[in-house]
């Protein structure tokens, strides 16, 4: 890492102001940012790192009425161990307990997990070797390059500059993103409250729709006693690995399914066709297989990642039958 100014933010407003000044990045658990700084992947090295961990009262887990509230600085290990989370949103505890490794989970936070940058190897290449679209460059190298871990549902089109549209096919590989999407979570920031399904976005050096200086503060999950849910991650290694694909499914008392896949599209992919197919019906083996096909409907894999389409079909079918 090269030198940067380090600010311990005392309040959210102070942190927002420091971030808005430009050349500044926010640091929570450090699982994502410190690696990015060591690899020097940013087009311009940040002048200032704003430490959010010094802001008090952002680390809590409470169940108030019909809402489970989790502070953005709560570590993944605390979420995985919490009996409150296990009782009210078991797949969140499960997914938090599978992310990265035991010692990393003790420091990395839920807010950081949701805001993490993509793990595309062109984007992450040492010393900013590839000036890709996601960094404001001209092209996405993965489209014609090695795209075995990239999107199978096409790229995301976004503006790198006013009027300049570019595509990025890197996926959102976070463990918690699909889980919070199917649980219908609301994410509270310093400026507004955003549905988890709308929170993730694609932009230059960002994987969320947060504005400059906007900070995620709280995750609010509706508690529903009749809800059942499942989470499955497929990764090449059990520990210290990002999922190639992960899948969260929840179903309420009236058999309304919510299915969300991570690792297949630039933002967590809601399998709407499969949800429509399953609505109000009891699961049979035939229906589960059809739902798997429906979830993969519209997939356009690149040269090296068609295996992900088969993974989608199989995982959706298996997890539906496992309810």
């Amino acid at each position: 890492m090269r030198a940067f100014n380090h600010i311990n933010a005392a309040t959210l407003d102070g942190a927002s102001d420091a971030l808005k000044r430009g050349g500044a990045v926010a640091l929570a658990g450090g699982g994502d940012l410190l690696g990015a700084l060591k690899d020097d992947i940013f087009p311009t090295y940040p002048k200032t790192v704003v430490n959010l961990k010094s802001i008090p009262e952002l680390e809590y887990i409470t169940a108030e009425g019909d809402t489970l509230k989790i502070g953005a600085l709560t570590t993944l290990a605390d979420i995985a161990r919490s009996s409150v989370v296990t009782e009210n949103a078991d797949i969140l505890a499960l997914a938090a307990g599978r992310a990265s490794s035991p010692s990393l989970r003790e420091t990395t936070t839920i807010g950081g997990n949701l805001c993490q940058l993509p793990r595309c190897w062109y984007f992450r290449k040492l010393n900013n070797r590839f000036d890709c679209a996601r960094k404001g460059g001209d092209r996405c190298f993965a489209v014609t390059g090695d795209n075995r871990y990239h999107s199978v549902f096409g790229g995301a089109v976004f503006e790198t500059a006013p009027g300049v549209k570019r595509t990025c096919v890197a996926v959102n590989q976070g463990d918690l993103a699909p889980v919070l999407t199917v649980l219908g979570a609301k994410l509270k920031t310093t400026e507004r409250v955003i549905d988890a399904g709308d929170f993730f976005g694609v932009g230059v050096l960002t994987a969320t729709v947060l504005n400059c200086g906007e900070i995620l503060t709280e995750i609010q999950i509706p508690i529903n006693g009749a809800r059942k849910s499942r989470y499955k991650r497929f990764a090449f290694r059990k520990s210290i690995d990002f999922p190639v694909i992960n899948l969260a499914i929840s179903v309420d008392g009236e058999n309304n399914y919510r299915i969300c896949l991570g690792g297949v599209a630039p933002v967590p992919y809601i399998a709407a066709q499969a949800e429509t197919l399953l609505a109000g019906r009891a699961i049979t083996e035939e229906l589960a297989e059809k739902a798997g096909l429906a979830a993969a409907e519209g997939a356009k894999p690149y040269e090296a990642n068609s295996y992900k389409v088969q993974l989608i079909k199989t995982l959706v079918k298996r997890e539906l039958l496992a309810f």
Binding site: H6, L34, G35, V49, S103, T107, I240
Partner: protein, 220 residues
């Protein structure tokens, strides 16, 4: 009978003696305060800060931080972008936590911070003020944990030994939280550590034996 295998190196010191010597050599105050850019000698941190403001206004000034490492408070002056791993090694002389991947993916640099296993390569030292930090040296000097180190030597749970301190620290945290772990719980607790030599199966053997020895010791 004390096991010969606990003797390390050619100094004929036991692991705990060597660790105690390393901890005793940790400087409680910086020996000299020098400007890292122009090597100018300063007497106090305040003088260094003034010197930076006057001479190097565009550079990042070092910060003064007191770290509580292995029960010793150490006042340090370093640049804010340094990781805890770097400061432990180059400012305090603690070489137990090893740098392997430097990305939080291998566990070789694990230390204990406030009772939790923490990757020292993945945390800024400037953010560790007020935390209770224990490294593998701090574990080696506690007689309670001698059976664990002996068991690691007896079962030869290492080849090149580079990753071993990280494993030992992770094992200590596990035994603190759960004094009687099953083999599966051990494997889960050590799943954040990577040994490229492939000694993983030996670790659970060593820890299971250490658990037995420690239980006997506490009964007597």
């Amino acid at each position: 009978m004390p096991m010969e295998t606990t003797r390390v190196g050619t100094s004929l010191k036991t692991a705990s003696e060597q660790a105690a010597a390393t901890i005793a050599a940790m400087p409680a105050y910086p020996k000299s305060i020098r400007c890292p850019i122009c090597q100018r000698q300063c007497l106090t941190y305040a003088e260094l800060a003034d010197h930076y403001a006057a001479e190097h206004p565009d550079s990042v000034a070092p910060v003064a931080v007191t770290l509580n490492v292995n029960g010793k408070a150490c006042a340090l002056i370093f640049e804010p972008h340094l990781t805890l791993k770097h400061v432990l090694q180059f400012h305090l002389g603690l070489t137990g936590a090893k740098e392997m991947c430097d990305r939080g993916a291998c566990g070789s640099c694990t230390v204990i911070m406030d009772g939790k296993p923490t990757l020292s390569c993945n945390i800024l030292a400037a953010e560790c003020e007020g935390k209770v930090i224990q490294t593998v040296e701090g574990i080696a000097v506690i007689p309670k944990w001698k059976p664990l180190i002996d068991a690691y030597c007896k079962w030869d749970a290492m080849q090149c030994g580079y990753c071993t301190p990280g494993f030992l620290v992770a094992a200590k945290v596990l035994l603190d939280r759960n004094p009687h772990p099953t083999e599966q719980e051990i494997n889960e607790a050590l799943s954040g550590n990577i040994c490229i030599c492939g000694t993983q199966p030996r670790h659970s053997q060593a820890i299971l034996e250490a658990v037995l020895v420690m239980a006997e010791g506490s009964d007597g």
